[in-house]
Symmetry: C2
Subunit: 135 residues, 2 copies
């Protein structure tokens, strides 16, 4: 018996409004639902990307639906990028004023672009080849 | 232009050894690679689940491959559970001594089981119906 798939990926942000703009405008994600001061939820393919204000979710009193959680610091999340879209993504990030902090050409093939969301979370766009295990 | 899929989901843990045992034994995930003191990486379907020691990855000097990241506190991640497997998962968690902290039957259909990993991250097993937007 084993888990087969990730249904929700979570990051914590200190400015939900800025996060909503960034993830919808720059990354093109579709907003599913939001609660002022608490969360903004996006769909990303077959997974949900949940952005929480840890001040809200760390507090058990406000956690009506899920047990308390909440982290502080710079989280990490990586999105799949098609092999031929590297230039387009680099240009798009630049156009939105998002610095590409690092670009890595992996020895085994594939490429990663690293950048920050408005809360300094470390985001990555990578081709699936970087892991050498996916189709 | 939009990101289509999440390739890496990340949690931070304070005990990599305990995390390796938990995620492989209890959740049945396949270990892909590990680096003592820094990380343990698992495959979960078409996504990688990355478990990092934030003491290591928050330090730029040790971040040869990716920019610095690292969070502290209780993160969150949700795994997909098949509709008919709720009882089996509850029993499996109990058998491994993992408390089901909360079980939620959602008004729109679907069920969630909440529990903790050894670092107190808030984990969830949920049926895809809970979001009402996935096939």
């Amino acid at each position: 018996m084993q888990v087969q798939q990730i249904l929700e990926t979570c990051l914590y942000v200190d400015d939900l409004e800025a996060a909503r703009e960034f993830y919808s405008q720059v990354l093109g994600l579709t907003l599913v639902t939001e609660m002022e001061g608490r969360h903004v939820f996006f769909r990303c393919g077959q997974t949900m990307l949940l952005l929480f204000n840890p001040d809200s979710t760390s507090n058990l009193e406000s956690a009506e639906e899920a047990p308390a959680h909440g982290a502080r610091g710079r989280g990490h999340c990586c999105f799949t990028m098609d092999e031929g879209d590297t230039d387009s993504w680099r240009e798009r990030l630049n156009r939105f004023g998002v610095d590409v902090e690092k670009e890595t050409q992996w020895p085994q093939g594939g490429v990663s672009l690293y950048f920050r969301d408005p809360s300094e979370n470390c985001l990555e766009l990578a081709t699936r080849r970087v892991w050498g295990i996916f189709d």
